[in-house]
Symmetry: C2
Subunit: 325 residues, 2 copies
C-alpha cells in the first residue's frame, strides 16, 4: 500500500447496469463499507443522470468521513471504453445510445477525484479474478446475464481490451443469421436477444403463443411476464418455463462452443439473475456445449456460477480499477 492510499483509505465503485446503478465505497481489502443505488434509466440527459448519482453518493461519502477519504472512483459500464473513460453508443442506455459520453471526466469534475471506467462485464471479471471463483485462473470468460448479455475475457491473466478498449462484446455475436430477433444494437439475432433477462421473458411469450404446453405463466398477461416469473415457475416444475431454460441454455452452450474455438478458456463463469436458476440453466449449457464444441475441447472447460453475491462482483471490480489510477 502506498502513502497516498494509506492517507485516502477508500475508493468508490459504480456498477452501471442497464436497470440499476449500484455504488459502493470499498476499502483496500475489498470490504464494501457503504452502498447506495439509483435507477439507470428515466433520465433525459447524461447530466441529469450524473446529478442524481452525485446526490446519492454524497450521503454515503459522508458516512465514511467525506470526500477527503476517497482516493478515486472506478466505473463498470456497458460499452465502457477503458482507454478514454467514455461510454460509446451503449444500446441499452436511454441517455447513452447515440454518441460518446465522457462519463469518467464528468464524475471527476463533479467529485474532484480521479475516475476510471471500463466495460461493466470487464469489471465483473476483475472482481471475480480478485475475490471469486476465478482466483488463480489465467484464461477464462465471464458472461454476465442481466438486462443485456455482457462479457469479460481474460487471456494470459490479462483483461482483453482490444485495439480500442471495446473488446469483449460477446452478447453481440450473431446466433441466428436468418429471422433473428431485433437487438437494441440495431442488428438482428444477437446472443443478447435470446439469453438476457428480456430475452428469456420473450422466449416464454413465444412458447405461450406457439405451443400448447400447459403453464402457470399463461395465467399472466403476456406483456407482464419477466425472467423472474419464468424462474419462479421453473422452480415449481412448470413445463413451459423449463423449456425456456432448455432453449436458453442450449443457445448459451452453442455460443460458448464458438468462444472456445477463439480462446480455449479454462472456465466459463456466469453472473447475473439468470444464474439463480442453478442447474436448471447450467445443465443445458454444459450439455449443449459438449455436444456442439470441437472434439479437441470436449469435456475440458469448467462451467461455474460467480462466487460473488449479487452486484458485489461488479462493484468490487469497478472499485479495483480505482486503486490502479
Amino acid at each position: 500500500m502506498n502513502t497516498q492510499s494509506e492517507m485516502k483509505p477508500y475508493v468508490i465503485g459504480l456498477d452501471l447496469g442497464g436497470t440499476n446503478s449500484v455504488f459502493g465505497i470499498v476499502d483496500s481489502r475489498g470490504e464494501i463499507k457503504a452502498t447506495t443505488a439509483i435507477k439507470t434509466q428515466g433520465f433525459d440527459t447524461v447530466d441529469d443522470y450524473v446529478d442524481a448519482s452525485v446526490n446519492a453518493l454524497q450521503v454515503i461519502i459522508e458516512q465514511v468521513g467525506g470526500i477527503d477519504n476517497i482516493k478515486a472512483m472506478g466505473i463498470g459500464a456497458p460499452n465502457g471504453n477503458y482507454y478514454n473513460g467514455t461510454i460509446e453508443f451503449a444500446p441499452n442506455l436511454s441517455w447513452g445510445h447515440d454518441g460518446v459520453v465522457p462519463l469518467a471526466k464528468m464524475f471527476s469534475d463533479r467529485l474532484g477525484i480521479p475516475v476510471a471506467l471500463t466495460n461493466d462485464a470487464n469489471a465483473a471479471a476483475i472482481g471475480e479474478m480478485t475475490y471469486g471463483v476465478a482466483r488463480g485462473m489465467k484464461n477464462f470468460i465471464m458472461i454476465t446475464l442481466g438486462t443485456g448479455v455482457g462479457s469479460g475475457i481474460v487471456i494470459n491473466g490479462q483483461l482483453v481490451y482490444g485495439c480500442d478498449g471495446f473488446a469483449g462484446e460477446l452478447g453481440h455475436v450473431i446466433m441466428r443469421r436468418t429471422n433473428g430477433r431485433p437487438c437494441g444494437c440495431g442488428r438482428f439475432g444477437c446472443l443478447e436477444t435470446y439469453c438476457s433477462a428480456t430475452g428469456v421473458a420473450r422466449s416464454a411469450r413465444e412458447l405461450i403463443d406457439t405451443t400448447d404446453t400447459p403453464s402457470l405463466l399463461r395465467e399472466m398477461k403476456a406483456e407482464d411476464i419477466t425472467s423472474l416469473d419464468v424462474s419462479i415457475a421453473a422452480n415449481k416444475g412448470d413445463k413451459l418455463a423449463l423449456e425456456v431454460y432448455e432453449f436458453t441454455g442450449k443457445m448459451l452452450g452453442e455460443a460458448c462452443a464458438d468462444f472456445a474455438a477463439f480462446s480455449s478458456p479454462e472456465a466459463f463463469i456466469f453472473f447475473g439473475g439468470l444464474t439463480k436458476a442453478g442447474d436448471l440453466i447450467m445443465d443445458p449449457i454444459k450439455k449443449s456445449y459438449n455436444e456442439k464444441v470441437l472434439k479437441i475441447f470436449q469435456g475440458k472447460a469448467k462451467f461455474l456460477i460467480s462466487g460473488l453475491d449479487g452486484s458485489a462482483a461488479a462493484v468490487l471490480g469497478a472499485s479495483a480499477i480505482g486503486w490502479e489510477i
Copy 2:
C-alpha cells in the same frame, strides 16, 4: 544472439499444411538458406510421413553443412499443441485425424535436435509479426485460407494459446446452424466448409447446379473444379466465379464481425491461395464486415493481405519457435 545459436547458425522450419509440407532452413536474420517439400497426405501412418520428411530434410541439411549446424526445429501444424508438441485429432490429416500424434518428439528422436510445434496458423501469425505487415501490431487476427481455414490470434502482443494450447480454431466457428455443410471435424456449418479452397470449389459447383448464371466453369466436369479454376475464371470477369467470391467474402466479413466482438483487433490479415484474388475477395469482406459489425467497431479494423510470399510466412514463423527452445 547467445553463444549456442552462434555456434549453430540455423533452425529448421516446417509448414505442415493439409496438402504440402514445406521445410526451410533459416538463419537468425530470417533468411531461408535451403528449402524442400513433400506431400502431406498419402501416408498410411505417421511413421511413414516422418520417414519421408527426414529423407527430404537430409538433402537440405547437407547443403548447409550438416546437422551440427542446426540448433532446433519448429513445426507449424494443424491442431498443433504448443504445450505438448503434439498434433491432436487433426481432421484434415489422413494419419492424424484419429488421435494424439507426438510429432515434435518423433522428429526430435530422428534428428537429434530439440523440436517445438504450434498451430500452423499461429506460426504464420508469428512470421507476420516478425517479418510482415503485422510488425508493431499488438492486436491482430491472422486468417489462413488454405485446404482448411486456420487462425492465429494475437492479443496484447502475445499469441493466444488458451488453457490447453489449442486456442485460435476460428475455421470451426459455426456460420450456419441449420443446413450447414458437413465439415472434416464431424460437425456442420463451420466457416471452413465455406471459405477454404475446397469450400470455394464447392460453392462454385452449388451455383452451377442451382442457377442459370453463365460461366466458363460449366465447360468443366463439376468434380474437377478447384478454387484455382474459380480464381482464373473470376479474373476473366466470369459472372458465376465473381458470385462465388462475393458469397465467400460476405461470409468471411460476417465471421470477422463476430471476431471483433471478441478481441477488437487492429487488423485482420489474410494469408493463403484465396488472397491471390486480391480486391475480388477483399472488397466483399470489407463491405460485409462494415455492414454487419457492431456500430462501435465500424470502419476501425484494417483488412490486409499477408506481406510474406507463399508459404514463407508459415516456414519463417515455424522456424522462429526453434530459436526460442
